[in-house]
Symmetry: C2
Subunit: 352 residues, 2 copies
């Protein structure tokens, strides 16, 4: 985000009525103006103010670090409980946090479609800035490109986050062991159903809101409650809880046994899923996490989760088993047992 | 790039004839297969093998770091001397290097269009992997999303790089001072003309190749030749040399005076620009840099540039002046003087 405009040489950007045009991506005066008057105005911080091709910062002595990235293409751009801008902040913060790290900084790259309304772009960037401020994780560098009308879809945002892993923390999807406890931070399916209901213009009796949230504060509390007791963390986004647990089972070479009755689902989400023909186990979440914990640490971690605003409905939903087939199985409400497989095919396109 | 597939459960990806479909972005089995058989196969390294939501790595004691990001939307995907994949590696490595940092790691996020041929995707990812290997800067984490046909354009790639600033180095576009020397690492306009000639199917007598290259080795040699003597570095990409120099002039609050005759342009690029109605000063480069140096360091830095394969045609092209208007001026071949302004409007869409 370099090249501030020479103020006074041009008229201010017409954010109310203007649209993105190809010159906004050309790297000249119009690009500089868009960056200064829209992006830097919203995201203002000392790193962007450096005005160089990248942003410089200091890192604590001898730190172990994490880097994570996410492309965000959610459609529509605005949905109950969230929008593309806040999602792009939350999604990448959460990926960093799921590695056990404290997120420090974000970068953002925008791919804009020619003709996209600047007012809409500003709403997205403002929401992004608000989410970054609330999370305490600034967007310190960025880039903007423009593609011709019909070669994009309004705006896509890719964010990358870096963070520092506290000493003594070793969290990885490959660390789960038989006997470990599986914890879930709250209800599942909220995000996917919120986006889907907006897209299909479905009217439910109560509005279903996305759970989109930054989870690094929750993770910090969990790690503080049982240092070394949290073995694996993951946020069940695309593919839902079922796919996330299969990922961990596969990575750790273990099985899992879930209790269907223990998995929290809001009644209105359950009803919407039935209407839409969806299984909540496979619906995306954007503010939930799964934790695999050492059995002796599980109670302390669960208590820390329930004490945090993003974990009030946290529950123990199952345990890790020895299983050469790496199956995730579920004890159903009716006393049976079934295999919970990976998501196959496409359930909900462009949910994040 | 998590979720390796359960091998043997599905047929291998048909890379030769297959196409991207929406299931490749759904986060389930098809996503995992695409990541494992195409992305991880090409980019294979120990960090991707961690299989978590992000990648972990150690950083030297108390380092000062840099983070830079770039979206890449070049069209066509392949052009003489380069392609989207290598460009996405070079572009971000260069942004990190222009901050005076040694690039360490890259992340990559892919936005794929439904229907895009997997064979084309593989060509792009293979080129990316080769560029990352050659540069010694691995892609350690990534993400992939798919949008419906007509909502994207084959593939867009956003890359983010992080690097470490060596002790004693302080490079910033705000550091230029009157009396400083302006150096350029080689000929200008090659990249923009190469892409444009491909797009317009223009036939020139000789093929004009993009200069796309990773410049961190060149930068390291320059910094070693005159520690503290290199004040500002920037790669003249979109907007070309003219816009880049205006950026530095604006950031540092200085003017510049260039010598037109000293700026190297290949004859075939000059001819193509004339044909296409372009000014080489505004055409994008992807393997060149501008350096502003303290006068006493300029000779040593220039010698280091000329000794490096990416700087053989390096030249002293002008000097920094005191100018409250922050004008970049140029002494023309005919003895006159003119102002070299920022690029205004769009000259070459989707050049990087």
């Amino acid at each position: 985000m370099s090249a501030p405009t020479k103020k006074g040489y041009i008229r201010p950007l017409d954010i109310r009525h203007g649209r993105v045009d190809m010159s906004h991506g050309a790297g000249g005066r119009a690009s500089a103006q868009l960056i200064e008057e829209l992006f830097q105005a919203a995201l203002a911080n000392e790193w962007l103010a450096q005005g160089n091709d990248g942003a410089a910062f200091a890192i604590p002595v001898g730190a172990r670090m994490v880097m994570a990235t996410d492309a965000h293409v959610v459609s529509p751009l605005f949905f109950p409980g969230g929008d593309l801008g806040s999602l792009a902040v939350h999604g990448t913060i959460n990926d960093v946090a799921m590695c056990g790290a404290r997120p420090l900084y974000l970068s953002a790259s925008f791919i804009l479609e020619e003709g996209f309304a600047l007012a809409e772009l500003k709403r997205v960037v403002d929401a992004m800035a608000a989410a970054a401020r609330e999370a305490g994780v600034p967007v310190i560098t960025g880039d903007t490109k423009v593609v011709e009308q019909g070669k994009g879809d309004g705006v896509f945002i890719s964010t990358t986050g870096i963070g520092v892993v506290p000493a003594g923390v070793d969290v990885s999807g490959s660390n789960a062991r038989p006997g470990d406890v599986v914890l879930l931070s709250g209800t599942i399916g909220d995000h996917g159903v919120a986006v889907m209901s907006q897209r299909e213009s479905l009217e439910f009796e109560t509005t279903i809101e996305s759970d989109s949230a930054a989870l690094h504060g929750l993770v910090a509390d969990m790690l503080a409650a049982a240092p070394g007791g949290v073995r694996a963390l993951r946020d069940p986004t695309r593919g839902g809880l079922a796919t996330t647990l299969n990922e961990i089972a596969r990575q750790s070479g273990v099985g899992m046994l879930l209790e269907e009755a223990a998995i929290p689902v809001k009644p209105q989400v359950d009803a919407a899923c039935e209407l839409l023909g969806l299984d909540p186990l496979y619906v995306a979440n954007e503010g939930k996490l799964v934790a695999v914990c050492a059995p002796e640490a599980a109670e302390a971690v669960l208590a820390a989760m329930r004490a945090h605003p993003h974990g009030t409905a946290a529950a123990r939903i199952g345990s890790v088993t020895e299983d050469p087939h790496r199956f995730v199985q579920m004890a159903t409400r009716f006393g049976g047992r079934r295999v919970v497989d990976w998501l196959s095919g496409e359930q909900l396109p462009r949910i994040c």
